[in-house]
Symmetry: C2
Subunit: 142 residues, 2 copies
Amino acid sequence: MSASAHNHDREEALAFQPKFDASGLVTCVATDAATGDVLMVAHMNDEALRKTVESGEAWYYSRSRKALWRKGETSGHTQRVIEMRMDCDQDAIWIRVEQSGAACHTGRRSCFYRKVDAGEGGLRLSFADAERVFDPKAVYRK
Amino acid sequence: MSASAHNHDREEALAFQPKFDASGLVTCVATDAATGDVLMVAHMNDEALRKTVESGEAWYYSRSRKALWRKGETSGHTQRVIEMRMDCDQDAIWIRVEQSGAACHTGRRSCFYRKVDAGEGGLRLSFADAERVFDPKAVYRK
C-alpha cells in the first residue's frame, strides 16, 4: 500500500491505529470538560492509552521518570475521562476530563498559568489564573 | 545552577525561555476561543512562535514538509490568536483562536473528529462532528 493510501486509511477509517513516535508515545491534551480550558499536555504510550479507556481515569507515560503514571496517584488529583478523541493522523489524543483539584504539579488548576505577549525587546510572560489550589511542597514531600 | 533551580526558574519566572526539543520544536495546542474545542495539535519552532505573536495569526512548523507554515496560507482558513499561553515547563503552547472555516486538512472544523471507545476485542473509533466544512480535493489541488 502506498504512503498516501496508508494516510487516507488512518484519517478516514475507524481502526484504532495510533501513530507512536520513536519513543512509543502519542501526545495527549487534557481539557476541562466544564470550561474548555487546556489543563495539561502530556504523553501516553500504548499501555497508558488502554488503561485510560479501561479505567475511565487518565494514565500517562512520564518521559522524565520513564514510567507509567496514573494521574493523581501521588496528589490525589485524578482526572475522570468524559470523552476521548483521536486526531486525523492518529498521533495526538484529546481527553475531556473532570479534574479533581489541580492538574499542574506546581499546584495550579492548569499548567498554562502564564500568558505570552510581545514586550519591549522580545516576548515575555505574565501570570494569569496562577493562584495555587494546593501547596506542592506539602503534597509531594517524601 | 542545579537542574532543579533551572526548573524552578522556568516554572515560576516570567522570562520567555521555551524548552525546544531536539528538533527545535515545542508542541502547540489550538483551541476554538468560542467553544473550547481542541482544533489541532501541531508544532512551532522559534520563528513560528515569534511570527505568531508579531502577526496575531498562527504560524507553525511542519515536521513532514520541514518548513515554516502560516496556517491557512493555502486554504485561506487562518487562525486569529486571541490569547497565547505557555505551560509550566515551557515545552508546550496553548493558543485560543478564532478559526476561519476549518482547522483540519481533511476539511473538518477540528482534527479531532473521531471518538475512542472500548469495543469488542479492543479500542475502536467512531465519527463525531465529522461533517466537512470544505472539500480538501478542491482546496489543495495543484
